[in-house]
Symmetry: D2
Subunit: 242 residues, 4 copies
């Protein structure tokens, strides 16, 4: 049974800024989705902010095993009701991959319980991403490091809870470091945050970046497909455990 | 310099229900505070839901090193604005001890990012709390286990993120188990959830329970007093790291 | 490509004690292996203490993706050289499932760095195992709890490092609790400790117990088959990262 | 009651190499100890490899609350018997601070259960250490980063178990990164690994480095002084928990 992936994109920069449209004519989400579509074990669709319900209806989410999320300038336009819906689906077992500036999205901050703040600088800097968990499924096919020639810098302190696993750590030409690939679980859902992907660089055309996203999708897929895990506030009679 | 503790109580059950008032004539928070006041290294005050701003003004929180929280029937009456204020103070370094039914409080759920759901039963059950981290500051002076003769049952699955440390696990007469003492950090703040304390039992008169709360207050106190840790979304110039 | 599983058994009790031989005529390892053999995605073999090199030659381990381990009265007979060999294979990516009294095996203690001590009692006690991570691959197909009618009791404090994930917690009729299903990683290898399985009970005929072992084998299998992850003490020249 | 610190040094480089002796005439351990002696809450002594029992007799360890460890060229000369003694004391509650090349010491590898391998290069490189846990006691008084002008490079992958907390991450001029300050617990003992301190640089004269070591000593001190935590393999009678 294929893993059903929904690639979500804010899709605003690409419509407003010709330079960004040149890199991603159909939006970053389409570039990512096109890569994933090459894998026969993945069934890929997309959704964007300006669709009704941001493209994430109850039905759509119920048939999504893994959601990827890129947002930046319009986090505030994402409706709380939809955020709550995504949140519940993650707890029920849907995987979520949060990309780059998605660190400040409502859904990521709700899942983390922290501000998700960080330091940043736009200076066309070289980023070196080092693997800190060789053998982890998310870095399958990746050597001990890979390089992105020009990216925005993100620097520590990154205000996230202590990760379950730190899979990648970046250094930047300016001397900063950043936990660039970190995993969590919340309820039955698996979460991966992956740093690279500033809109003004062709980062989502980079083979290693795409490979990490593809790996992460497989890693985050629920063990039992999209079946909701039902648990919760439940009053037990005396003999329930017998 | 003493640790400044604010013991927060919902203080509704005790005013409405004569049976509960008999156990806690001045409220659970007063019983807890009176115990803590015996320690000269603690400077203890209280605050309750029905005070202006729930007794948790900016000034009050700024001079609180550790907050303890008991709520149950009125979680919904706690204003979001005050919850956000507490949340920011925790990230800045204030410790927080969440007691019993506080598992469903807005502040605990915001810090955890999960539903904090659990199973429960009121049946005057014996609870045995086992130490799973001997030597941890929170169980100083506690033997390998202690018993509460009659309590409400809380059972797994408890929908919380994987704890940093699991310090206590309970069994109940009905056969259930529960992670009864768990630690987290969020930002610079330390968090301890401690299970016992249903309003209809004299649990906060139990010496072991009080000892754990007292220990947890010392454990959760920030390293540098109440000084706010300032960090955040910060744009760096190229040479900042040099 | 199937997962290559080696089911290792000490296989001494079954040869010496007629009562145990009655439950496991061909040894506990054979009972476990026979269950796993029903799955076409698993390629199953066995190995025992009294074979040359304990059945775990370099070649055998190199072609093992997941090793399961049951030992009890003869931990001391396992050669240090073989323990070191298993240890290196785990770091290189082989999964390992440690069962019951295997908590005191040389390999488990070497991986944990602690004594792995616990409390115990043999009294034909009912054990209730509660799922504390619904949706986790290891408890796929398991309800919120399952019961073993008669087992040896293991009680906390269990001297292990804080687990990556606590998947199952047991209660016993005597009131004790135990972290019965816990996960770790060391190097590229995944580790699962699973409590049940005292030799004098038919525990490895229990469907839920067998299901958890089967699930754990799939969970622990390396992402890239048995390919060794090569890393280590490596001197770098200046330009290696460029 | 002061914290009793024993600063352990291999003390071989300083006796053999005049250039190193120039930086540390009385040994690195003496330089570190002299700094700690300025704090009235610390009672400081030293021990070295070539003393009888490496200066770590049963009596000495029994009266040590926190041990700091620097070794490099003579890890193999440390007797297994003494390593086992230190290991047991850590499990019983003694804190341990492992410095720089101590990553390859017998005691650290025994506590970790992994190879503790890493990449390295000696090239007089600038190291920038970034705080990844603001507010943590170990980085009290440290700004968001500090710089060591010339140091040996240590690079990821560092083969350690996932830390409890990652407090500091370094970048190096060559582009590598390293988890430079990480915490663990084993049994009742707290463990801190701290990267800087190659023998050919005056690193242990650096104020920030000394401050981190001093902070870590206070953080690692047991809650109940040197009192051994007694637990272990214990057979329980039926009513023990009652």
């Amino acid at each position: 049974m294929p893993i059903r992936v929904t690639v979500w994109g804010e899709h605003r920069h690409e419509k407003k800024n010709p330079k960004i449209a040149e890199i991603y004519p159909d939006g970053m989400h389409t570039t990512i989705a096109n890569h994933l579509k090459k894998s026969t074990d993945l069934k890929v669709s997309t959704a964007t902010l300006d669709e009704p319900e941001h493209g994430l209806t109850e039905k759509k989410l119920a048939s999504t095993d893994v959601l990827t999320w890129w947002g930046h300038i319009a986090h505030g336009d994402v409706k709380d009701e939809i955020v709550d819906r995504i949140h519940q689906r993650v707890l029920d077992g849907m995987g979520i991959i949060v990309l780059h500036s998605g660190h400040f999205s409502k859904i990521f901050r709700k899942l983390m319980g922290t501000t998700c703040n960080l330091k940043w600088r736009e200076a066309d800097e070289k980023e070196v991403l080092w693997v800190t968990r060789p053998g982890h499924p998310i870095v399958q096919g990746i050597d001990d490091h890979f390089i992105i020639p020009k990216e925005e810098m993100y620097g520590e302190f990154f205000d996230i809870p202590e990760p379950m696993e730190t899979v990648l750590i970046s250094s930047f030409a300016g001397g900063e470091v950043f936990r660039s690939g970190v995993t969590y679980t919340r309820g039955a859902g698996k979460i991966f945050y992956f740093r690279p992907g500033h809109e003004s660089y062709p980062t989502y055309h980079n083979k290693s970046v795409l490979r990490v996203i593809e790996n992460a999708v497989r890693w985050a897929a629920p063990a039992e497909g999209s079946k909701a895990i039902t648990y919760g506030n439940r009053k037990l009679g005396w003999l329930d455990a017998k």
